[in-house]
Amino acid sequence: MININEVIETNAMIEKENLDVRTITLGISLIDCISDNLEKLCDNIYGKITTVAKDLVKTGNQIEREYALPIVNKRISVTPISIIGASACRSCGDFVQIAETLDRAAKKVGVNFLGGYSALPAKGMTKAEELLIKSIPGALSRTDNVCASVNLGSTKTGINMDAVLLMGKIIKETAELTADRDSIGCAKLVVFCNAPDDNPFMAGAFHGVSETDNVINVGVSGPGVIRSALETVRGQDFGTLCEKIKKTAFKITRLGQLVAQEASRRMNIPFGIVDLSLAPTPAVGDSIAEILEVMGLEKAGAPGTTAAIALLNDQVKKGGIMASSYVGGLSGAFIPVSEDHAMIEAAECGALTIEKLEAMTCVCSVGLDMIAIPGDTKATTISGIIADEMAIGMVNQKTTAVRVIPVIGKSVGESAEFGGLLGTAPVMKVNSYSCDDFVNRGGRIPAPVHSFKN
């Protein structure tokens, strides 16, 4: 039988160390909504989402109350809209109409984000994908809860550099259209290499075509719990450090598994995966950078940071894999700058640079995330940053992503305020040397030799 010390330990993690389930994300296939008539398509989409997801928030709240375990977000991911809208949409405006429909549906069921305004031009770009991508700035500026993502490459296909070039411009344009709110549109837009089909985290969640009709995916959190656990092994060797992370990650992930199973049972929707990611929030004590500091680094970004994050990421997976029957999504340690107060401090004092963050993304999920850059950064420079990150993902057979925010009207030394979970981002310096001639070449970068495994 459970004893009082175990109960006290679990509740202390929740009450004092910010342990929570970060998101229950309901994946909904919209394939059966497809029509060549835009009005009919939008009606189908609205009808399907508001029917399938009608109990999502209520069920999430019930589970939260019964276990006294916070479930911070209830969200929805849908089939990439470039596929769903392909036969009905003739213009960017048509796609924006779908985005507005998604936004209405999200508001109706009470979720805070809906992901899947997406295109997957990893190798080539269809006409519909091009239209969707070009509609992203308009769609994100005219909706509140819709998130967009674009998969620009993969280990199997190489990198679609035409799409990389285009996304530099689209990110810039999105920033300009939401300039009055510190370019917040870009916080809802992410580009990927090797995008997973079952990611529950925003902005990159979409319901992949390899998925069943509806599925429940859960993202756990708990940097605060790991940090507190590591306080007890200060000064001890790496073996002890790793063992501690592994055991703690196991416990955190078990709660994700429990919530996923319960949500699945109560909503009668299959359980998909638990995403093992350690996701920080702006709250003090809920930070990845604090974990690095407890490991022995003065600030995130100090020499040793890449090794520390590699170790952390690996041990979180080793502990988490046994705790859940199905693991998927992004599963790693997130390093979003704006959502982690100690990362913000490290960036402000100069300890952490974009180049160091890029190195960190080689060994952990997911990428250059929530990084504010000067508003006058050229579109081609953003494309160059994206190309670098995509190359890391392609060669290392892992997911990488870029979610940068060129904050219009702001420069290094200033900061952007997004509010809520998205936090505050100090504008970081970008290498100003040109990559114009490189990114303007056009075409695609072939898949690396180690992708040919057949």
């Binding site: 459970i2 009082i4 109960v7 006290i8 509740n11 109350r65 006294a68 319960e262």
Partner: protein, 90 residues
């Protein structure tokens, strides 16, 4: 039987257990086990209970206990046991 865990945390005083037990008896909740300890100077009590035949819905029972806790200056939580089994047992 699905068990539920009640935890009471606060400053020790006369009658806490009595009042919680009375409330549970009034609502037909059976107590299977009680243990208590002091952590950081605070009184911590845990009860393992059977709430299956309770006269109130789980969430109403939970709210009633929270209210009772507030009236005594302590924090009372009702949680399904699964959360602890999942985390603490393989």
């Amino acid at each position: 039987m699905q068990k539920s865990i009640i935890t009471v945390v606060g400053k020790d005083r006369v009658g806490i257990i009595a009042r919680v037990c009375t409330y549970l008896a009034e609502n037909n909740v059976n107590i299977l086990d009680i243990s208590q300890t002091i952590v950081d100077g605070f009184f911590n009590m845990m009860m393992i209970t059977d709430t299956n035949n309770a006269s109130l819905e789980f969430l109403s029972l939970s709210e009633g206990l929270e209210e009772l806790g507030r009236s005594m200056g302590c924090i009372i939580k009702l949680q399904r046991e699964d959360i602890f089994n999942q985390m603490q047992r393989i």
